[in-house]
């Protein structure tokens, strides 16, 4: 049909020309957006492009307890206090001081005067009270309400905030500096539900200019920022990727300036040799460990169970796991307290050595009269801790069975079922990882060794409990370090848990991006303002 033919012809020509147009054009690269206002240091106005495979849960602090969300929250909102990256101490942010009562149950903070949100609204104590109240009220499953416990917040006047804690906590200032303590604009955020991510308003050094979930977030310097941080750039863009291969390609080609967190160990290793690309690592606080349910694990008596745990501790080869499974992106760990934190001591190395020792393991078992090989059922979870968990536990099984003393039966189930099972006495031995809420040693030992530990491993030691109470009730750092060391030394003998690696933080940059090393700190806070591009 002539008409149909000519129509088809037109369509064809049209397409051809569009395609030609597309092919001829070159995509623009680089980016030189100048920011408006803000505390700009040294006139560096370039925009940093940050590529990430993260999936942030919520930019509204009431709905966020995960690191990808907190990375954004730290930069868009102010807290009463924040962590200084070099000293890892809490310094004033929106508040000029925050002082506890003697029993650490009442905390009084005084706000700096004249602070404003990015939209011009004034920041007062009422906003602070509003922020804390709504986190507890909304009680979002993914939110940080558990960190705040049942705190009662009062705002007696426009610049004073008073916190009444249910029980004394000397570390409340750390909690104030986490994402849970972000201050939101009471005029914009609803009190009983979360605000849509692209509408958030904070008083931090950056403001959110635009956001499409799982795609691109754009941050510009906050013109109304009243804090004392200096910005080294003119803005930051987060490009979210679903697939790390695309991200790897883009950082090689320079379409992305920074990749954080790092990619898989294989990808990171591959990128090390490429020109124009730098792979930078810094200390991390994530740890991986094995938990023994001291009630359901094999062993006829407490002594036998203890012997079995100690035997495993003698046989585990951390170096092999770090090298063969993780290709050096993790470090062998000999204590439950991440290295770099106050009081961390390699107690497992002292007690069990750093190379597998079959004879010592055998001795332990013989002394307690345990028949070998011991049938051990070990649980792990496939996707929550990354795809290498499978290799990790195959390796652990290999190590234990190579001694002839154990027969390992590996079991796995997906995360949601995994935690419901294993933390409810259904798994005799299981894998867990830990990630700190804040960089204080208490966030490690308190969580693992207390009688009310979430681990539910039925391990309890009265001495440890009293030491925990002691260190949580004082701010005397020397005393606390002493307590931490004692706790580690006591618990290692019974080995209810066995730590085996600590992860490093890895960032990858293209070209010359400055400030990365400064922000790769054990607190895991990614500070936009430190990054600069030349």
């Amino acid at each position: 049909m002539r008409q149909a033919r000519s129509r088809a012809a037109i369509a064809l020509v049209g397409t051809a020309s569009l395609v030609a147009l597309a092919a001829c054009g070159s995509s623009s690269s680089g980016g030189n957006k100048s920011g408006g206002g803000g505390n700009n240091a040294g006139g560096n106005t370039k925009t940093i492009v940050w590529g990430s495979t993260d999936k942030p849960v919520s930019y509204d602090p009431a709905g966020a307890y995960d690191l990808p969300s907190w990375n954004v929250i730290y930069n868009v909102y102010q807290n009463l206090l924040r962590l200084d990256p070099t000293t890892e101490k809490n310094v004033p942010d929106a508040a000029q001081s925050c002082d506890p009562s003697a029993d650490f149950k009442t905390w009084t903070c005084k706000l700096k005067p004249g602070l404003k949100f990015s939209n011009g609204d004034p920041l007062t104590a009422a906003d602070v009270k509003f922020s804390f109240d709504r986190v507890i009220k909304i009680n979002d499953p993914s939110g940080p309400s558990s960190l705040l416990a049942k705190v009662k917040t009062d705002a007696p006047d426009a610049t004073t905030v008073v916190f009444h804690l249910a029980s004394g906590n000397a570390l409340w200032d750390y909690i104030l500096s986490t994402g849970a303590g972000a201050i939101v604009d009471s005029k914009v955020f609803p009190a009983d539900k979360k605000l849509a991510d692209n509408k958030i308003v904070g008083s931090g050094p950056y403001e959110l200019a635009s956001y499409q979930t799982n795609q691109v977030a754009q941050f510009k310097p906050n013109p109304n920022y009243g804090g004392d941080l200096k910005l080294n750039n003119g803005g930051l863009v987060i490009q979210y990727y679903q697939d790390e291969n695309a991200l790897k390609l883009d950082v090689e080609q320079g379409k992305v300036d920074v990749v954080y967190p790092g990619l898989s160990p294989t990808a990171d290793t591959e990128l090390k040799g490429k020109s124009g690309v730098n792979v930078i690592s810094g200390p991390g606080g994530a740890i991986r460990y094995l938990v023994f349910n001291t009630k359901t694990m094999p062993g006829g008596s407490d002594a036998q169970k203890r012997a079995i745990r100690r035997a495993v501790a003698f046989l585990i080869d951390r170096e092999s796991i770090a090298k063969n499974v993780y290709q050096g992106t993790v470090q062998p760990l000999y204590t439950m307290v991440a290295k770099g934190l106050a009081g961390s001591e390699d107690v497992y190395k002292t007690e069990f050595g750093d190379t597998p020792d079959k004879s010592k393991a055998q001795q332990e078992l013989q002394k307690a009269g345990v028949k070998t090989p011991v049938n051990l059922q070990i649980w792990w979870t496939p996707s929550h801790y990354g795809a290498l968990s499978s290799d990790e536990y195959t390796e652990i099984k290999r190590q234990l069975e190579a001694s002839g003393l154990f027969k390992v039966d590996l079991k796995s189930t997906e995360w949601e079922q995994y935690t419901a099972n294993c933390l409810a006495d259904k798994c005799p031995v299981y894998q867990l990882g830990w990630f700190p809420d804040y960089p204080d040693t208490d966030d490690y030992v308190g969580q693992f060794f207390g009688s009310t530990s979430f681990l539910n491993d039925h391990y309890s030691n009265a001495q440890v409990d009293s030491l925990l109470k002691d260190e949580e009730g004082t701010r005397d750092q020397a005393k606390r370090v002493d307590d931490f060391k004692k706790i580690q030394e006591i618990t290692v003998a019974d080995a209810p848990v066995i730590p085996y690696w600590q992860g490093s933080q890895i960032a990858i940059t293209h070209g010359s991006v400055s400030g990365i090393q400064d922000t790769l700190t054990p607190d895991y806070i990614f500070r936009f303002w430190l990054l600069g591009k030349s």
Binding site: D243, E244, N245, L249, T266, S390, E414
Partner: protein, 352 residues
């Protein structure tokens, strides 16, 4: 659709003479295959040859494959090279190695086993459920039939891969009592089964409905034949003609669905067996780096097997479906008034 001029007492030599016996119905149904000449028959043979190749791979995998599918160490205990670092095709590894340091050719061979296992289970179960459902639903009709049709249409309209993904996802780990390697195969097979039952149901039911209205079936019913007899003698024979076609085309589709599930990570896991779709998922990341052997070969395997199955199905369709059938004419040796009838018949056949 049969021609309106039904030649009585079919004495034309191109009407198939069928022996009596228990399988008369099936034999009559499949007779056109033997009668076929020309292109459709060659297409059928090519398709069968391809499928046979993979069946041989599947059955004799341990003897054909140089290594096990999960083997990453050679006989001296050294690790195989990884794909990106020296894993290109070589004398030791004809198709190269992949990201997990396993041999690609072994994956092709063992993958045939996985693929055929899953497809066989899926096709058989969907047939066993879908055909009887369609038969009885179509023959008896009524409210049950109408409900089934509604459910069927609903499921039919839904994107099949998505349904398979959801079901595979939900069934994950539920079959672990069958043993580690079999549980993944079973959950993949079940998810594929669910999406193909509607196909059998629909086609069988439609055939039953059209056959049900035929005069000879009506006559049988009037004469008092029990429904079971009617179904078994008349309806089934007509219906069963469709089954091989649907089965092979479904097998082809099932393989694509399995590969899709594997690509997304919901199929057979790498510890349970080699699966081509999963291999392609791992290969995706390396493609932009120029590693081609980990993606080209598994993909070719899928294309070949699916094409083989489709060719078999299509040619069966060509041969068994009277609308598209083109029988070669044999010289007709009859005299008299039957000549006219036979010629007219033959011309009608040729025209269609």
């Amino acid at each position: 659709m049969t021609s309106e001029f039904m030649a009585p007492a079919a004495t034309t030599t191109d009407a198939p003479t069928v022996r009596r016996g228990r399988f008369a119905g099936i034999r009559r149904a499949l007779a056109p295959v033997r009668e076929a000449r020309g292109l459709p028959k060659w297409v059928l043979y090519v398709g069968l040859a391809i499928v046979l190749l993979f069946v041989v791979f599947a059955i004799f995998a341990p003897w054909i494959s140089p290594y096990r599918f999960d083997q990453y160490l050679d006989s001296h205990g050294n690790r195989f090279p990884k794909s990106v670092v020296g894993g290109h095709p070589s004398a030791k590894h004809w198709f190269g190695t992949n990201a997990l340091s396993t041999d690609v050719f072994s994956h092709i061979v063992y993958g045939s086993r996985t693929a055929l296992e899953v497809i066989a289970i899926a096709v058989v179960i969907s047939m066993l459920i879908g055909v009887p459902l369609g038969l009885f639903s179509g023959y008896y009709g009524g409210p049950l039939d109408r409900t089934l049709v509604l459910v069927n249409d609903a499921m039919f309209a839904f994107p099949s891969l998505l349904l398979a993904i959801l079901i595979a996802f939900l069934l994950r780990g539920k079959f672990s009592f069958l043993g580690d390697s079999f549980s993944g195969i079973m959950s993949a097979a079940i998810s594929i089964t669910v999406i193909y039952i509607p196909q059998y149901f629909r086609v069988i039911r439609n055939t039953v409905i059209s056959v049900r209205e035929e005069p000879y079936v009506e006559a049988a019913r009037v004469l008092g034949a029990k429904p079971r007899t009617v179904i078994a003698k008349y309806v089934f024979g007509n219906v069963v003609q469709n089954v091989p076609v649907i089965a092979t085309l479904n097998a082809a589709d099932a393989l694509l669905t399995l590969a899709g599930l594997g690509f997304l990570g919901y199929g057979v896991q790498p510890t349970e067996g080699a699966e081509w779709g999963y291999d392609l998922q791992r290969a995706l990341g390396e493609a932009s780096g120029g590693v081609w052997w980990t993606s080209v070969y598994p993909g070719l395997a899928i294309v070949l097997l699916v094409t083989g199955l489709t060719l078999v199905g299509e040619s069966l369709n060509d041969l068994l479906n009277p609308v598209l059938r083109r029988r070669q004419l044999l010289p007709v040796k009859i005299t008299g008034p039957e000549l006219e009838m036979a010629n007219a018949d033959a011309v009608m056949e040729e025209r269609s």
